[in-house]
Amino acid sequence: MQFLFRYANPANFMRLSGAVLPFTAIGAALALATGLYLSFSVPPDYQQGATVKILFLHVPAATMAMGVYVAIAICSFLSLVWRHPLSDTAARAAAPLGAMFTVVGLITGALWGKPMWGTYWVWDGRLTSFLLLLFIYLGYMALWNAIEDEVRAARAAAILALVGAVNIPIIKFSVEWWNTLHQGETITTGKLASVYVAPLLTMMLGYALLFVTLWMMRIRTAILERRARNLMQGAAS
């Protein structure tokens, strides 16, 4: 852990992230450009037609929506166990990004649903789970904003994030159970034809790099904001 903490110190983080940031940013741009190009160049699906291409935007977003929550939960755990302020900053910075991926997942899901189901919204198990996930993100961010004392807000948010981490699999299970009960429609993509694997993986990589880039930028901004505030407070007294 000591090794981790050395790099988790804000000054070191600023240095390290500053060096890495250009590469992740360029990487994200390249991967997304390539991914989009591949997405448009692959042949349409024999069942779904061109609609299948929405999945290249939808699936990575849905994966990231969950992945970002896992990242928040890990940061929260570190924050509660080791009281490390940078992990709080990281958790807080990740939340709006996770919410954004969730929204992208929901919108692309709805756009995919229109040609497939004939309606923008069906109470499909996965879409419903993601809608609930969005509310969990919103509650998490609202709690951060509501508590004025930063230390307290961080701890409360961390507890909520961990409670959510325990609960999300249960929610997912219950929604799937509910879906079979009410015989709703489900996104059944079946086995993805092999031509689609390359664009999907490239897009996945692009989304992940985009997240890492934006996440680091947000953490850096938060650190700089705190420094600026400390300087102004110092100047006042």
Partner: protein, 225 residues
Amino acid sequence: MSPFVTLLTRDLRLAARSGGGAALALSFFALVATLVPLGVGADLKLLARVAGGILWVGAVLSALLSLDRLFQGDYEDGSLEIIALSPLALEAAALAKIAAHWLSTGLPLTLLSPLLALMFNLDPASTLTLFLSLLIGTPAVSAVGAIGASLTLSLKRGGLILPLIVLPLLAPAVIFGAGAVAQVQDGLAGGGGLGALGLLAAFSFAAVLLSPFAAAYSVRLNLDG
């Protein structure tokens, strides 16, 4: 009288003396049940079909009304510090408060539910399932709600943010509770209805078992100020 029972009875007494205890939650519950037919129409078939879900959602919302004060009052007037220094562990104190909240809201709501089910034209077997599901499931509402209440105890307007935090986490309770009723209505009572009630019981049990720890942890962090 043990410290646990002492805290439980005091919370019940406070609930009974301020705002009539369960009366507020019960009125709210009945009001929700009254507004729904006004909104969706008086078709008895339709009402029977949605009764399980509506009454479950109504019960959860009614139970949430008084949740924000679960720890807040004790936090604001300094009782919580005294409780924290007492021989009663904070985890046990949280459980006592969850129990008191359930006895003063969840249980009365459950007892009222058959009457409202009658107004929704729910058949006897489904009504019994609804009653049982609320009996099993409302402790989870108090328990998960207690986590939300402990996280927002220092907030002046915690009542606004509490539902946003708690409601998504309670989705499984609503799903299994209303699902049990739907299964009975669909004639899946044999294994299926019991299955939903079983899942609900598991969720409720886990919530009551785990949330005192989360709530106590959060209360401790809040005393740190």
